[in-house]
């Protein structure tokens, strides 16, 4: 069959067939069915409020920074200047005394030269640059349209980050000191204190720690040794980033501690899904092999810090509930599972969650009344959870002294196809029957 000529008119499929028109119309109505706009808006608002770097009403609308080829990193350190297209090295002098302080509360274009922001951050705007200052109750943001900016940022609260945004990237600083050189063909970063995240298109490429150096011309997913002209630091090393298959081999060989370090190396230097998986696998290793639930929870916390809303967030949240339960942090586990149940993933695995909740209420809180309610909501689940829920509910009814209901529940359980706890249910029925 010959291909159509470009521009050839194709009648719409719905025009060809009344049956198809009717089918598409009916399908369209169903596609638009079941939309909870109010709930969706509430969740969107929470997401926007919880992740300030994504907050849209502070989004910038500036032209691209010169020479930002891949990962854009904003560097500011005491006395350092931005790199320039002519590759001038970063200076180390401390900027001169500030000449003006813009008023807070209203966005304003920062003047050329040094300025002190209301929080004490020192900004030096180079000639020809366009930098807008946008404070808010969520933190300070600078919107860079073009040019170069030098900053000495005062220590910020964790929930009030100092943010710099460009059209393609966003950077958050908490009082870190680092320096960046940006040329037409590369971006280089050296971190003196703290850590700096290198992002491209909202995806974390790598985290560069104190004493480490990163270049866009090298492996973008891993920092390397500090540049030779800088004094060596304890954390500086040329890393050979392992792969996850190697870590899995170590697990199979029983070399659990080596496997732990292997995953940790990937997690710290990894990016994207590889980095996410490394943190998650580390948590599982600590939980299941090393018997370290607290360490596992720490790995999950680090995952959430580095990858809020990441691809594995649903699995991480499920694991968090499990770990909190194992650690005896019952109320936290119940709170986390309750939050998770409001998400799509939580709803998809609600019986698993409700079983965890029910068991915690029954065994830790000694509250079979609440547990029974959790089990009841899963009895009809066709998978294995329904079987467990039905038997657990019958047992709770018995503990609560609701004998008649317990007997009915055990009998209903035995009426299920292939009940796994049939022997146990029969014994309880015998004990309860007059």
């Amino acid at each position: 069959m010959s291909e159509p000529n470009p521009g050839q008119h194709l009648p719409r499929l719905a025009e060809e067939s009344a049956e198809l028109m009717s089918l598409l119309a009916e399908a369209e109505a169903e596609y638009r069915n079941g939309i909870d706009e109010s709930g969706a808006w509430q969740r969107l608002e929470r997401k926007l409020d919880a992740t300030p770097r994504r907050r849209p009403w502070f989004a910038i609308s500036a032209a691209a920074l010169a020479a930002a080829s891949m990962a854009l990193v904003v560097g500011w350190a005491a006395g350092s200047h931005w790199g320039r297209p002519d590759s001038r090295p970063i200076a180390s002098s401390i900027p001169a005394a500030p000449s003006s302080t813009p008023p807070s509360g209203l966005p304003t274009v920062l003047p050329v030269g040094p300025t002190v922001l209301p929080d004490g951050t020192r900004a030096v705007v180079e000639d020809g640059s366009v930098v807008r200052y946008r404070p808010s109750d969520r933190g300070i943001a600078l919107q860079v349209g073009r040019g170069h900016l030098e900053l000495t940022v005062t220590r910020q609260a964790a929930d009030h980050p100092f943010t710099v945004r460009s059209p393609t990237h966003e950077l958050r600083v908490l009082g870190t000191r680092f320096a960046v050189t940006v040329t037409e063909d590369r971006t280089e970063l050296s971190v003196s204190e703290g850590r700096v995240g290198v992002y491209a298109r909202d995806e974390l490429l790598t985290v560069v720690g104190a004493g480490e150096h990163w270049s866009s011309q090298g492996d973008p997913g891993a920092p390397s040794a500090r540049a030779p002209e800088r004094p060596p630091q304890a954390a500086a090393s040329t890393r050979i980033v392992p792969d996850q298959a190697g870590c899995q081999r170590l697990v199979r060989l029983g070399q659990s501690r080596d496997a732990e370090q292997c995953y940790l190396d990937i997690a710290r230097s990894g990016r994207g899904l590889a980095g996410e998986m490394a943190w998650y696998e580390l948590a599982r290793l600590r939980r299941d092999v090393l018997g370290n639930p607290a360490g596992a929870l720490g790995a999950l916390d680090e995952y959430e810090r580095r990858y809020p809303g990441g691809s594995l967030s649903p699995e991480v949240e499920m694991s968090r509930v499990d770990l909190l339960a194992r650690l005896g942090r019952v109320n936290e586990a119940l709170d986390a599972s309750e939050r998770l149940l409001t998400t799509a993933t939580g709803r998809a695995r609600q019986c698993e969650l409700r079983m965890v909740r029910g068991n915690l209420m029954r065994d830790r809180l000694k509250d079979c009344a609440r547990a029974e309610a959790e089990y009841r909501r899963c009895e009809s689940d066709p998978a294995g959870w329904g079987d467990r829920a039905a038997l657990a509910r019958a047992e709770c009814l018995e503990r609560l002294g609701r004998t008649r209901e317990a007997i009915a529940a055990y009998q209903a359980y035995l009426g299920r196809p292939h009940p796994l706890g049939a022997d146990q249910a029969r014994r309880r029925l015998e004990a309860l029957s007059p």
Binding site: Q8, L10, P11, R12, L20, E28, Y31, P56
Partner: protein
Amino acid sequence: MKVATQSDSNTTERSSPLSSPVATTLEDSLVVGCVAGDREAWRALHRRYLPVAVAFLRKLGTPETELDDVCQDVFVELFRYLPRFRGQADFKSWLYRLCATQARRTRTRSRLLRAVRERMEKERQLTTSVPPSTMTDTTARQLVSRALDALRDDERLALVLYEVEGLAAKQIAEIAGCPEATVWRRLHYARRTFKQALGLPEADAAG
């Protein structure tokens, strides 16, 4: 559902309330309000276009379990870049483009995650297997969705935008980021596959 009212579909979008002059003005007002930081304007924009986004993402095959997250990502992107959008293009086309991008990312991520989760699932302490679902439901949506599932992603996007959303090929080309001739080619093969999947006869060699 919108129905074609013009014979020349090459250049004319189907008529719909949202393409009327009055609606355009309302759209501009909302955009202006949003750019000014008016939260009520954001809410109104969300209320207006969430059904459009949800329906479109469903047609592109976004799983229900991920639909909420993908929609949120779409609107986060929309709100972020709205100041740059103002008046430069058809707003709905821009929304379609954002949805198509997020749907594509979701599919890529889903393929990777599926492999991960299959491995995780084997290690979960579930002693009984989940019985297979019985496909007894044959709603219109499911019939259409199954037919759409038979298409390649790029063909699916073209067909949904052309046949269901009523866009012109030129608009589809902008959304998909390809030449208009490519859109026609994709539509040609998509329509054939779609009709075969529905068990409908092909009208003629050109259809």
